[in-house]
Amino acid sequence: MFSVLLVLLMSGLMAQDAVKQMSPRPLKSSHEVALPVPSFSSYGDPQCDENLAMYHHLWTDKYGRTILLRFSQSGDESTLYKLPEEFAESTSFVDFSVTPRGDVEALVIDQEFHPIIFGFDSEGHVSSHARLETPEHVTAQHINVFPNGTVFFSGYYRSDAPAALVDRGYVGLFQTSGKLLKRLDRLSEKAKLEPPGPGRPAESATTIGRDGNVYLLTATKVLVISPSGKLQREIAFTKPSPEFSAITVQYSDGWLAISFAKSGKPEVLVQYLVVNASDGSPLGLYEPTEETGNNNVCFSRHNGFLFLKSEQGRVKLVTAPLR
């Protein structure tokens, strides 16, 4: 038993050393295609489904407005996901979830900060909505929906909570009806979830893999969580340098791409660490180049990174394979 632990510990340390020694490999474009999609702005991290359709929270007059855009990889099909009028003005956007199949859920809060989850059908119509039974004073941060419909929710206690709880993380599983299935307090402690602070982006993100697990990104590791809420494993990583924030995690066929970013002048400097999702072993460190732009929207183990650019008022997709 001791020897197994020792081996795991040593391999983890060696993997971290390997990242420190890696210098990022520049990504080169292998394929570029101009889409009929006019240029647009969006908030937050774009998401992809397994068909590489892209999903964006559109930039409108305020962040809280929930207007999500999906368009196919060809740009020939689009779907707009909006809340019904009675909710659109009285709620504020928090997060959205896209499953590998392309099912979309939006997480919003109402005026009393209660989290509400909206499900949409493939045409963008609201098909369900439920208020999640979270404790008082908890504010929402992320959701993901497992293939069995269970909702993974993470958030933290607001400043109006009892002093001992302020800023502490909260993680739970919920039914689609909003009923609490299970609090995951140990997971929350392990994740050390923190509210977003000023000055740098929040080091927290989630994604759901085709393997049915949720991948919860923190500043130092990725936690792999099963639909029953069990912590399957932890994948520790080392940032390229301390100034970088770990901002997104993407899953494809057993591989993870972790994006690190720091402010540049004016654009963001990014590096991507690709690791094996089963044992955390690092597979490569990459950086975008001028020809790719820095806006990675999809990751595929087989095709590499897909970048979104805008040229002459139209969206352009750039494929950059892993080398």
Binding site: I109, A202, G293, L308
Partner: protein, 131 residues
């Protein structure tokens, strides 16, 4: 020259209104955004969890909320997204842009009419059904 002065006055007055703070119930968050003019990722300060706030306009790179919006210039790109919904200051700037061709730098490559047209042609739904 007069036109440039007018733009400066408008920009500074909007800064005066905003001060870069969020309303009490909002959270000032550094957020990744996609810029319309080149598609690149930028970090901006966004007031999240805003329900009753006036909201902000997308013509600037920094987004601050509260009583108004502020514009930080000289960051290389103006992210003007599709104006499905617009703030009042957008209208002010738009009318200014229409009147004065020299401030075209305030605009970007995003074309709202083209975006709406593309949506019409490709969208599976353009209206939400009541619950």
């Amino acid at each position: 020259m007069k036109r440039a002065f007018l733009v400066l006055v408008l920009l500074s007055s909007s800064s005066y209104l905003a001060h870069g703070d969020c309303q009490a119930e909002e959270s000032l968050t550094v957020l990744r955004t996609t810029c319309a003019c080149n598609g690149n990722t930028l970090f901006v300060n966004v007031c999240t969890r805003n329900i009753n706030g006036l909201g902000c306009d997308s013509s600037g790179q920094q987004q601050t909320c509260g009583l108004g919006c502020t514009y930080i210039t000289a960051v290389g790109c103006n992210a003007r997204g599709p104006k499905i919904l617009t703030g009042s200051l957008v209208h002010q700037l738009d009318s200014l842009v229409i009147k004065t061709d020299k401030v075209a730098a305030l605009t970007c490559s995003s074309d709202n009419r083209a975006f709406e047209k593309w949506l019409m042609e490709t969208s599976s739904v353009r209206r939400t059904k009541p619950l």
